[in-house]
Amino acid sequence: MEMYGYAGKILTVDLTTGEGIKKVLDEKLASRYLGGDGFGAYFLNKVVNPKIDAFSPDNAIIVAPGLFVGTFVHTAGKTAFFSKSALNNGWNESVMGGRIGLALKQAGYDALIIKGKANKLSYLLIRDGEVSLKSAEHLKGETTRKTAEEIKKDEGDVVVATIGIAGEKLVRFASVDCDERQAGRGGIGAIMGSKNLKAIAIEGKNDIRVAKPEKLYKLMEEWYEKMITHPSFEADGKYGTGEFLEWMNAERGTFPTRNWNEGVFDERKEIDPYYWAPRYAIKNKACVQCVKPCGKAFVAKDIKLDGVEYETLFALGSNCGVANIEHVARANELCDLYGMDTISTGGVIGFIMDLFENGVVSKEEIGMEIKFGDGEAMLELIEKIAHREGIGDILAEGVKKAAEKIGKNATKYAVHVRGMEPPAYDVRGIKGMALAFMTSPRGACHLRSGAYALELTGKFWKFDGVDRLSSKNKGREIAEMENFMAVYDALGVCKFSRGIFLLNFEEILDAVTGRAYKEDELLIIGERICNLKHIFNIKAGWTKEDCKLPEKIHKPIPKGVSKGSYVSEEEEKEMLEDYFNARGWDKNGIPKKEKLKELGIEDMM
């Protein structure tokens, strides 16, 4: 029977042997996990022993397009990458808006599972649904952009997801690039590098069929109107995701600055898109399938990129004290070309700047002067990190491991949760997000809960009157937001549409798959997915002690409207307990049997 909305098969490739195995997608599995994030949660648990090292050939990379990818549902072109994390050896996932998942689906597959290790640098080609491994020795050290160009020259109309030099060098926050969009976080690029996998190239030409095409068309007409008349359409369209940068500084005082020493970046004038977009952005850039683009084609002298995104304006801007937008944009482009996550890159550079300014490391020790605000030095450091040269070799390990290697009191300056450098929300003044940083299955992350908008504005979905400066009642809030967002990642819908769609997918799902899932059914699927990721982490050795917030979060924000706010160790403990309780987990964060049974995953623990 045809499964509408799906390609209908799962492909497993063993890079060691070069073989591909196709399996029919089980209908029951699809209905329990939807796709994307759900398939990742299920298959990573099934195919990877959580105890192995992330760089072991037995680690797997899973590529899974959301259920709505390729179905014309607006802003639903997202594909997720999964694997053990190069940063913390636990669960990792990273979602991107390139076409790789669309191509995979059109090639006949709803998920691609890559295991093993190629005997030399290679790229995986999927054409006519068949697998071949081809030498990528000639692409060694090439940028993501050049690699994609070269493979397209040789293979024709393929979609390419590729790593740059950083992935080859096992930089622990190396990213994967497709269509100049990145699966940035947690080092999926390094895992590809560890497998000698330079790129994945897919030619997909099959039809994607939906259950009720005419209904879908009509629904999309209605949703299109809602999309383009929503205030975010104009805001994102004009200024991109950094549109609220000024507000985050002036009205909330929660824009992390100079390695989280401050929550307001006084020198922000140029990095504010209201300044740079009219000067440097020549047009909008979108993820595939998106009618509400937030990307910008940024052009300046020798700089060309799709950016600069909000998180990067923080990471390579305020977090390093860099106020010159051309420095920030060039740093962004270098990260994209070398294949490195901008958030973690800015995290480690801000960290070493902080150490230098505080005399923890000297010029002699690290081979250069590196003060906050020095854009040229930041660019030099990006080169060193990507190529693992000098101090760059240490920073390529990520903040946590780098601090351990540097020793002295460096860990005091290391801002991370479970080894992952945090995104642009000073959680000292957004306490629900402090909890979200602790509970995200991949380490400090804003996207698994997406709760920052709720916290910063006080209301979203079923929540109202939320106080960002209070640590009370955050457990249920974050747990429910995580379940909500897991549904988005399973469907492949952009989180920037969450204020428009909410969970009103019943009719759309009926049109796509023929089954009208209601909100409560979707939330159970979301909860199932969240629990499965947590189970993986527990098996990988997770304990609640790992969730600790960085020391800096326990110190008050020094100025701005959130001045004086911080998360105490007591609050940290209370919020985590509250969350475990809301999740139906015991006091140590282990899911109770009843909960697993209720979700139908007792066999996965």
Binding site: Q106, D179, D207, P293, A297
Partner: protein, 130 residues
């Protein structure tokens, strides 16, 4: 009448390809769309679509040996009863706006004057020129 492409506005989202194939064939497949976006570089996205004679001399019609490329009320369309997928039109089109996929030609037919791609192009990269 034709759909005018303005590449300086194109975000590269490819929604036009998806909606074109959905409206014409009740499925999604860019290879069965009458418009294609070429992602030329990080800052260049180029829509390719037939201008129905506005920027060409109907080379596809002249090239077709099977009388499968028709023109009616200013709209050039494929007669699928006759198309053999011989690729003559694809080769002849100076705008790279006709493609052969699985032995059939695909090109813009203007959706009877109300093109879906224009309707769903949020960036005004596709506009209907009357």
């Amino acid at each position: 009448m034709y759909v005018k492409a303005i590449p300086e506005n194109c975000s590269g989202c490819m929604v036009c390809e998806m909606v074109c194939s959905l409206k014409h064939w009740n499925l999604i497949n860019r290879y069965k769309a009458g418009i294609r976006i070429e992602k030329k570089s990080v800052i260049e996205d180029l829509p390719h679509i037939c201008t129905h004679g506005n920027e060409c001399n109907f080379e596809c019609i002249s090239a077709c040996k099977f009388d499968a490329m028709k023109k009616e009320n200013g709209i050039v369309y494929v007669d699928y009863e006759k198309c053999t997928g011989c690729k003559a039109c694809e080769k002849a089109c100076p705008l790279n706006a006709v493609w052969i996929h699985e032995k059939k030609a695909y090109k813009c037919d203007l959706c009877k004057g109300d093109p879906a791609c224009v309707k769903f192009c949020s960036q005004n990269a596709l506009v209907l020129e009357v």
